[in-house]
């Protein structure tokens, strides 16, 4: 089913523009039979028309916004019904207990599945990344490290030279060394990379177009109340998991972290369908998805608390305390499951476990803050460049050839990456090496300090020794790797395959501080921990790109175990955010949301203009009058004409056209369905029947056609503001209560209507952006 819905943004820029804007701006007349809402309600079983609401009432169209207040009130109704029933029999009591616990059950299942998937992905990426270089002879499904673990003869020093692991050239020609072998290895490395990325992009294109990209901008939009059917479906889950492995293994400059959040949310959505409590209520479903996002980050970084904070700070819109506790539980289970699978083989939760024991000094705050400044600048630069490139992709011929683009970028990445040992290996391996302190036994080139025999120092006292040629060599290679990663990541993020940018962003830090600070050290003092600089730099860059603060610091120290260094991390994260905010308020996800034109009302934007509700409401001064229904004088035909002639999502109901006193609001969708239903099933309802929204229809003479009573679908508590209400208050109300629309009155008379779309358009206008070109393109 997910394959059949309208094409998503990252596969074909133009088609989604028209689809989305059509859905948002011109909700054309609805064909109930064809709407993909089978999962939202059972089969269309015959219900008694007068007692039960007919099917589909209270559901939403694809690409529409939900009404949070209505969802919440529907859930309370459901809850009340179950509670009152539970007193009737023991069976009902058990059912009500099951219902009460279903939230925790869903959390448990989400935790288990996303933890397992994350473990499988980790193992598969490990294996496939190494497959590009060689194969394990004893068992081809072992990665390099696993292969050499199992061969007993390996000692620490020659871990890279265990006989079981053979590079392709060695296996095929028998020569491990020499120019020919190098070229052959190089060639096969590029070939594997191309194969992986081709597979990834093809699978996405054919089976699950929504599986592309990082998914976080869309998840933010969905959590804010927008409906994109199939975005979190079963097919998306399956294909995203597979293609994520392929994409990361192909060596592209992308991370698995963002996509893992998407995968976890798909799990959340999947388990929602097990319980009608969640599957039938879009508001409750979003609570589960918020928790799933927390579980996703929890397994992506091994940071359960960071995950909860990420969900709270970055992606969630409605985050009640209950969700906080559930997210916490889901994140815990997910992290625990991942720990049991133990993909990193160290029975630790964290990916890059490091232990520094040297305290840091006050003076070091200066370079940390400089790193923050650098991170902020880098974040600004990255966002600008990436958005410019993505806009170009959308508007030019480039967007038409996604497969070619992926192949080309993979090719370039692989060709340029292989010669440099720091870019050849997987990014997470590299980060792990950079974060680690040089120990006495470390074989890394970065630790190649000259062992000065004249000094009677213990062997592990590294900082005093002059740097050996290996260090200088490594610094050059790292500098090149930095430039390369910066450039290639700009082009990679936003491509048509699963891609995240956490890890690539972390990559981009400033190595050169090291060598500068080496000169500062007083002889004999163990003064600078290079790994700490790497960690702080990573936090600063990630902060500049995503504008996270608290969750970022928590993730970083859960990730690395460096609890002692909260203060440096905080200093760098805050600085980085300040600097980046000075150049533009939006993080990468908000920028992509805006680029794609999703109707997202950011809680962070402050609306400070002096406009009033009357300036924003429709109808405007020269528009035709507002389309309203009267409570007791409209015929079925009038209603049908109104529905045909207009494209509004709903209509206010007033006492009479003269008094204009508001009594309620009726949804277009509910009205269409109700009339259709009545015409089919209720005798005597014809075009000239009068539609009554009043409590009692008057007794009519028998000659008159049967009246149609529709009070049931009338929302008797529509949200109203007066025309003098400042727009900042209106924006606040829309945000906090999650409204779809709001009616405007003056002295009890209905004047107009403000929809979420009107609010967004007005906000864009106030920021001097062209409202039509910015929104929904």
């Amino acid at each position: 089913m997910n394959v059949t819905v309208s094409q998503p943004d990252c596969l074909s820029g133009e088609s989604v523009i028209s689809d989305l804007s059509a859905a948002l701006l011109h909700p054309v007349s609805i064909h109930v039979g064809s709407t993909p809402t089978e999962e939202m309600n059972g089969a269309g079983n015959l219900m008694d028309f007068l007692d039960e609401p007919f099917p589909d009432v209270g559901t939403y169209e694809d690409f529409h916004t939900i009404d949070w207040l209505r969802e919440k009130s529907r859930d309370t109704d459901r809850h009340r019904k179950i509670t009152s029933k539970s007193k009737e029999s023991i069976w009902e009591l058990i059912k009500s207990l099951l219902d009460a616990w279903s939230g925790w059950v869903v959390m448990l299942l989400i935790g288990l599945l996303s933890g397992t998937l994350a473990g499988v992905i980790d193992l598969a990426v490990d294996w496939m990344t190494d497959l590009k270089e060689g194969v394990c002879l004893s068992a081809f499904w072992y990665s390099h490290e696993q292969c050499c673990w199992t061969s007993n003869e390996t000692t620490f020093d020659d871990r890279d030279k265990c006989p079981q692991w053979q590079k392709w050239a060695e296996l095929m020609t028998g020569h491990a060394e020499g120019g020919g072998a190098y070229v052959l290895n190089y060639f096969l490395y590029v070939l594997w990379a191309l194969l992986f990325s081709f597979l990834a992009v093809s699978l996405v294109r054919v089976f699950a177009p929504y599986a592309c990209g990082s998914g976080i901008p869309e998840i933010k939009t969905i959590l804010s109340g927008f409906i994109i059917r199939g975005y979190l479906g079963k097919w998306t889950l399956l294909i995203k998991t597979v293609t994520l492995v392929l994409a990361v293994s192909s060596g592209l400059s992308l991370g698995k972290e963002g996509p893992l959040v998407h995968v976890a949310c798909c799990c959340g959505n999947l388990f929602c369908s097990l319980f009608s409590k969640y599957s039938k209520n879009e508001g409750k479903r979003r609570e589960v998805l918020s928790a799933a996002a927390a579980a996703g980050v929890s397994v992506a970084f091994g940071a359960p608390i960071g995950g909860v904070l990420f969900s709270l700070e970055e992606v969630s819109y409605y985050f009640p305390l209950k969700t906080l506790w559930r997210s916490f539980f889901a994140a815990l289970v997910a992290a625990f499951t991942l720990r049991s699978i133990n993909p990193f083989g160290n029975s630790r939760l964290v990916l890059f476990y490091v232990e520094y024991h040297t305290p840091w000094y006050m003076a070091e705050l200066v370079p940390f803050i400089l790193l923050g400044v650098f991170g902020g600048l880098w974040g600004t630069l990255f966002i600008r460049a990436n958005i410019a490139w993505c806009r170009r992709r959308k508007t030019t011929q480039l967007g038409k050839y996604p497969v070619l683009e992926v192949i080309a970028v993979t090719g370039i990445t692989a060709v340029l990456a292989y010669p440099n040992p720091y870019t050849r290996r997987s990014t997470s391996e590299l980060i792990s090496e950079l974060f680690n302190d040089c120990g006495a036994l470390e074989s890394s080139q970065l630790c190649d300090y000259i062992n000065n025999p004249n000094m009677s120092r213990p062997v592990d006292d590294i900082p005093d020794r002059p740097a050996g040629p290996g260090v200088y060599n490594a610094l050059w290679q790292l500098a090149l790797a930095l430039v390369f990663k910066i450039v290639i990541t700009i082009f990679t993020f936003g491509m048509k395959i699963p891609s995240g940018l956490f890890i690539p962003s972390m990559m981009a830090y400033h190595h050169h501080d090291w060598i500068i600070f080496k000169n500062w050290c007083r002889p004999g003092a163990d003064c600078v921990t290079p790994g700490l600089y790497a960690m702080v730099g990573a936090a600063a860059c990630l902060g500049g790109v995503t504008r996270m603060t608290v969750s970022l610091v928590v993730i970083m120290f859960e990730l690395t175990g460096g609890l002692e260094y909260i203060v440096p991390l905080m200093a760098a994260a805050v600085t980085s955010k300040w600097v980046a905010d000075a150049f533009g308020k939006e993080g990468i996800y908000e920028s992509h949301i805006q680029l794609n034109g999703y109707p997202y009302l950011d809680v962070r934007d402050e609306f400070t203009h002096r406009t009033l509700a009357t300036d924003v409401m429709r109808p405007r001064r020269n528009d035709p009058t507002l389309a309203v229904l009267t409570q007791d004088s409209t015929t079925v035909e009038d209603v049908e004409t109104l529905i045909k002639d207009t494209d509004y999502n709903g209509f206010p109901v007033v006492v009479s056209r003269e008094s204009e006193r508001l009594i309620g609001f009726v949804q277009r969708r509910d009205l269409t369905l109700a009339i259709k239903n009545a015409r089919q099933k209720q005798d005597g309802v014809v075009s000239s029947s009068v539609v009554y929204f009043t409590e009692d229809a008057p007794q009519l003479p028998a000659s008159n056609p049967q009246p149609l009573k529709l009070r049931r679908i009338l929302n008797l508590s529509p949200f109203t503001v007066t025309d003098h209400t400042p727009m900042e208050t209106v924006v606040d109300i829309f945000r906090k209560l999650g409204l779809r629309q709001c009616l405007v009155t003056r002295s009890g008379r209905l004047l107009g209507i403000i929809t979420k779309k009107d609010v967004l358009r007005h906000m864009a206008q106030m920021m001097n952006q062209d409202p039509e070109s910015i929104m929904f393109n």
Copy 2:
């Protein structure tokens, strides 16, 4: 000034009952001159009446609730004015930049001051606690530990026996040992304790009655929008700091953590008064206070991130993302300041730094969950017992003698505590010892395992050795200490001196698991870390008492540095919360809020009843009609009569009594002030003048008295709901938008009004509690 306001709850139960309920239920006629609002606006300088609002408009009475929407909108106005002015001159531009940065400046100041105060308190408590036992001869202002540090001859083993430190008996009689010395030491210990607590309770009683208790329930209430003037004033700050030191040093079973949050909030309030942006806007002020609470927890536990989460999860009501970042900054600065003062002498941020290196095993989850169950039960028991005791204190003669009560409890505590070495020392020292693993050099009794000479084990392999008599002895003493602490804490919390319960709660964990699990160990395996059990147990108990989850876990692992043990901590915290919630939804702070009758609308309570706005609004069926004003037919005299005859906080303004169409809402306070002002300063305004709320007053013949135009004080965008709105939606709106009142309409006609008080009373009624006896008593 703070001394003159009405007496607070914890000094005289009854007087505050009448004060508070009077203020809430019958806001009697207001004498403007005597309201303590000098800090809210400058001197009453003469402003042009027609252009500028007169002084005091838009301020609130003591013990009233603020209107969040109005505060927010006033701040936006202010912001707009500054922004538009900033284009006029460079000086205005600088002023606007200063204004923009003032938030960060306030955070910096709060961080610096609360960090400093926390450091000073830590040092003073250390010294005064030791003063109960003895004195340092070389410098009397040294604590035991500092004294022995300075004497060079001390080695690790005889740290307790450095010659510079003398117990009182030794100093006075020359005999360090023997029964006489023991009795003398005992006697002086109790005497010091009594002196300290007497000083504490007297200072509180005389100078700053609000300085008593933990302060967290009141801070929660204040942050939710209630006004208690002087609660966060300068005097409270000073007296609370001094008495906190005295109370903790006296050996009472209370902690300094809750009061430190109060101290930090006082700092926040103090610095608010420096900037009119914060001092003149109650909404903005509360943003600062939220951040200050985070800084308070940050220094109380050395846990900056935990502090931010505590503020978010536990105390704050309105917590926008901007406040998250600022809190983060304030917590960072505070922690950093404390680290610079370095009161624990280990240059670590954390109080109980521990390092375990043994991983935990899956099977251990069972005892962890059991600890969680125990913690939940203990939490329930504690809350019930403590609330019962506090209610008894309020309703019986007991409440009349607070000084005597404190003296008595201190005496009992000191007498019972001295003989047991685990209760004699300060609670934080004890926790520190319990959390720590037994090392080879540890001199604690708990580590007195028999060194079996037959085994060729290294000396630090402790777990295999059988427990020595010291261990059994210690376990008995600990068990006694546990029972004693449990009982005494129930009576201590809520007394009339500064008291927190974080640390005492942590105390109450289950030591006995240790000995049980010793038998499980496979020989040779280092299987159980006793300190870990202590840590998990502490988390479980604290979770049961306060119902925190995420923030608790973060605080615990920041506190102890035990990053590896997130999963056990999470498991225990979640279990503890579940178990405790099964017996009652409210944590200790909510219980105290309810006990004291503060108008606090808890975000966690779910309202699931099927009532409508029409069931809750006033006037009820048999009440007199709603007191309204008309827009153009009420005279000044009519208004004055209405104000005199009713006690409502405000009046709706309608078009006419016949049409009942609503045009706005006017605050009683503003109305009183406006009429008073007009009578004084505006010529021709007499009792028979007509009050106009319309845009233009009609041209009247010269014979008629001058009309009084009051549109300026009319709120043209009052919040309205229809009579059919479900109460759950109304409750939601009150919570999320922070309303004071909401008008109820049907078809554009005004029907009634719902105030926050009505909502709270209705909620109590629905929970089968007597609304009048529960609220505001």
